[in-house]
């Protein structure tokens, strides 16, 4: 009975005698990759047989049925087992440890405890379906809410880009636009220019104005060193707004003239006004480099006066006959800022920021802000922070987990000082870098504890964890403890969370990135590694051990290294041999369960004998027939197996028994199907006889009969099929294999 999932491969178009794709002269026959002697039909191993670091196996891990390919280098390096053991249960679903392991909460397990607040741009529970952020787009200040899926799938960035605004980036050096005088000499007008600055300028900065400082009716519009809008109209007045610019956001500068009345406002704030009459200069003007003030260094998104509207693009400026000087970049303004970071804990301790200039960025120039390959929030703009006034924890037993980059990219040691992950409103508790080079600190029980953490760990994103207990506190960096403290104190209540800042905003804000922050109001010592393992897995942080190495890994494909593409596959999950058993790489090859594990069928395009099959395998039982492989016009017609007589056996119509085997012992077999001159070779010795004359076309691995009654209960480390007699090369082949595995 032919099992359904077995799909015979197309015939091997390359046929017999195809040489393996390697240079036999360059290889060490005794210890290097196994070279080819006349061309193998198929070659399966967990080592590199052709010297090209080929794909070895495709593995399915039992925890989530995810699959991926592994190369030779990934198998013994630990990459495979680490991947199989990856912690896929998100933090809010982690169950307490039981004798049966950690049963995820959605599957009936008992929760390790609900955090006081849990912020991320991913879902921290498989059952969480709510929004993770509210975002404001800078182009029109519209806001909307987004789920984790919408953050990840581009919905967020698409929305931010919906209302696109052209902008031009001026470098503050030589990039500007020469225009004719845009302001009418005597008519009424309303002049509006929109711009963004990353910081309040250190020197008064020009926005727009006349070219010449000597002309009558000259005018110049600027931002002064206090961030206020300023307009000088010669012969009338100097106007200064009371309010200042919003750093990192679009600012709107408006100067209007109505008869003799002049008015200047910034962002709709209270206008500064004056009266006077003057014929304005019409000799020419400049955007970004008027006659007074340093060159504009920032973004201008648009300018309008009367019937003139410039959309912020170089093309539009040129089309108007203006001269674009230098090479200012002109693109679309697509920034998005977080106004609300949702608490996923269920406690509704959402972190918010209503001030545009203090909102962290999540979309930058149309691109999602990412760190470690995952969405993140950019806190690099000064004084950005998120607040949760409803947040409250007690001080003694607490735990914090965060993906955090304290300082900006490439920050110096000085720049990495005083960068805060979180604190409470009175800075009674916090985590942040102190005012010292290359250190981290936390505050607990009114005492600040500082300890060394190198600069390279402060200007890059990493996993930070803090666990406070009744016996003290520990700080962990990427899973490793870097500081322990035994201080105890009053178990005070601490309220009002600030993310990215503490009390002194001006000098203690994070200037890096925060991707995830989970704060428990409980001792999570027993669960720290479980939480860290999932965070580490999500953000690709290496070196964090899996918390619970009990996951199995199964081989879906054992790749053929012969070059013929005769990959061995098994699409039925329950019939896949095991390569990782309870978190540990199986020694001695792939483990076949003796019930229903096998690979097949593989169409080898072999035809008539002789054929040579070389294998490294073992059976874990005696007294019953266990197939290593089946071959033939259908696989049941010929085979190599451990026979119930306890003898090594081959069969192609006639049983040919070799030496006695014992269970649990690995053997190197050299099986030659060659009619009356067949050989069953075991560990270098030989038994010669007649095994029959059947053809050896189709291959199955791990059983010898299609009916599935002889499943191997043991392991196969290597299996190579030659459509030829390899007797002349037997010693060399066996030497290579034995040197590799030290079998006999």
């Amino acid at each position: 009975v032919l099992s359904k999932p077995i799909t015979p491969k197309s015939m091997n178009v390359l046929g017999h005698g195809l040489a393996l794709p390697l240079n036999r002269q360059s290889l060490d026959l005794a210890t290097g990759p196994l070279i080819n002697f006349g061309g193998a039909s198929a070659a399966y191993s967990l080592r590199d047989l052709n010297g090209r670091n080929p794909r070895i196996v495709r593995v399915r891990r039992a925890s989530d049925n995810h699959e991926r390919d592994f190369y030779k280098d990934g198998i013994n390096s630990g990459e495979l087992t680490n991947w199989v053991n990856s912690q896929i249960v998100p933090p809010l679903d982690i169950g307490v440890l039981t004798p049966e392991g950690r049963i995820p909460v959605p599957e009936g397990g008992t929760s390790i405890g609900i955090p006081a607040a849990a912020y991320s741009l991913r879902n921290l529970s498989t059952t969480y379906t709510g929004n993770v952020v509210d975002v404001r787009r800078s182009s029109d200040d519209a806001e909307d809410s987004f789920t984790a899926a919408e953050v990840a799938d581009g919905t967020l960035t698409d929305w931010v880009s919906e209302d696109t605004t052209q902008y031009m980036q001026f470098d503050g050096v030589d990039e500007d636009i020469s225009t004719p005088a845009l302001l009418p000499a005597t008519d009424d007008f309303t002049f509006t220019i929109k711009f963004i600055l990353d910081e309040v300028p250190a020197s008064t900065m020009g926005l727009y104005g006349s070219l010449s400082s000597g002309s009558s009716g000259r005018n110049v519009f600027q931002i002064n060193t206090s961030g206020q809008a300023f307009a000088f109209i010669s012969g009338v007045a100097a106007l200064t707004t009371a309010n200042s610019i919003n750093v990192g956001a679009i600012n709107t500068f408006v100067l209007s003239r109505s008869g003799t009345n002049w008015s200047l406002s910034l962002n709709g704030g209270t206008a500064d006004t004056a009266t006077g009459s003057i014929a304005l200069d019409t000799a020419g003007s400049n955007i970004g480099d008027p006659y007074s003030g340093i060159n504009f260094n920032g973004i201008i998104t648009s300018l309008s006066v009367g019937t003139i509207t410039w959309d912020g693009s170089a093309a539009d400026a040129t089309a108007k006959g203006w001269t674009v000087n230098g090479s200012p970049t002109s693109t679309l303004l697509n920034d998005g800022f977080v106004s609300k970071w949702y608490d996923q804990s269920g406690n509704d301790n959402h972190a918010t920021q209503g001030t545009a200039a203090s909102q962290p960025k999540i979309v930058d120039g149309g691109s999602l802000v990412t760190k470690l390959g995952q969405p993140s929030m950019d806190f690099t703009t000064g004084s950005t922070m998120l607040l949760s006034d409803s947040f409250s924890i007690t001080e003694t037993e607490s735990a914090v987990f965060a993906i955090w980059q304290p300082a900006k990219d490439s920050a110096t040691t000085v720049q990495a000082r005083n960068r805060t992950l979180f604190g409470n409103a009175s800075s009674q508790i916090y985590i942040g870098t102190p005012n010292a080079d290359s250190q981290m600190s936390f505050k607990r029980f009114d005492a600040v504890k500082s300890f060394t953490l190198g600069l390279a760990n402060l200007n890059t994103p990493n996993l930070h964890a803090f666990v406070g207990t009744t016996a003290g506190a520990d700080y962990y960096f990427n899973g490793s403890s870097i500081y322990s403290d035994t201080a105890t104190g009053t178990n005070s209540i601490r309220n009002h969370l600030r993310i990215g800042a503490k009390q002194n905003l001006a000098t203690h804000d994070t200037e890096g990135y925060i991707s995830e922050l989970i704060i428990y109001d409980s001792d999570q010592s027993a669960n720290r590694t479980a939480i860290e393992a999932n965070i580490g897995e999500t953000y690709g942080i290496t070196g964090i051990p899996a918390y619970d190495n009990t996951v199995d890994g199964f081989v879906e494909t054992w790749y053929d290294q012969s070059g013929n593409g005769n990959d061995a596959t098994q699409s039925v999950a329950a019939s896949q041999p095991k390569i990782v058993d309870a978190g540990v790489l199986v020694s001695g090859g792939l483990d076949f369960d003796g019930v229903d594990d096998f690979f097949g069928l593989i169409d080898l395009d072999n035809s008539n004998q002789p054929n040579t099959i070389i294998s490294v395998s073992r059976t874990d039982v005696t007294g019953s027939t266990r197939g290593i492989y089946g071959l033939g016009s259908d696989p049941s017609s010929a085979s190599g197996y451990y026979r119930s007589s306890n003898n090594h056996t081959i069969y192609a119509g006639i049983i040919l028994e070799g030496s006695v085997y014992t269970s649990g012992t690995e053997y190197l077999r050299f099986d030659l199907f060659n009619g009356a001159s067949s050989v069953i070779g075991v560990n270098g010795a030989s038994t010669v006889g007649n095994s029959g004359n059947r053809t050896l076309t189709h291959l199955m691995i791990g059983d010898s009969l299609l009916s599935g009654v002889n499943p191997l209960n043991g392991r196969i480390r290597e299996l190579i099929i030659y459509p030829t007699d390899q007797s002349a090369n037997r010693v060399a082949i066996e030497t290579n294999i034995n040197n590799q595995y030290n079998i006999y």
């Binding site: 999932p5 049925n65 699959e67 879906e556 999950a573 019939s575 229903d596 049941s636 010898s704 009969l705």
Partner: protein
């Protein structure tokens, strides 16, 4: 082991694939790889038994699942 019995092999494979979809096996999520959860075996009386260990069974299936299945005896030494 708990088994569900089907009159045809195809019916059993269909149920196995249905469970594979529910489990998110790679064939159904990535277009290649594992497709079925378990393989049906023919019983002595010509039905097809599917090992449903770990399956999410509906009420009807729960009521019909059985551990009592007889398979043909092995014939390994006949070859």
């Amino acid at each position: 082991m708990p088994y569900l019995l089907y009159p045809t092999e195809q019916d059993a494979w269909d149920r196995s694939e249905e469970e594979g979809i529910a489990m998110g096996l790679a064939y159904h999520t990535e277009g290649r790889g594992s497709r079925y959860v378990s393989a049906p075996k023919e019983t002595l009386d010509g039905l097809w038994a599917l090992d449903v260990t770990g399956y999410d069974l509906d009420e009807l299936e729960e009521s019909t699942v059985t551990p009592d299945v007889t398979f043909p005896q092995p014939t390994e030494d006949l070859m």
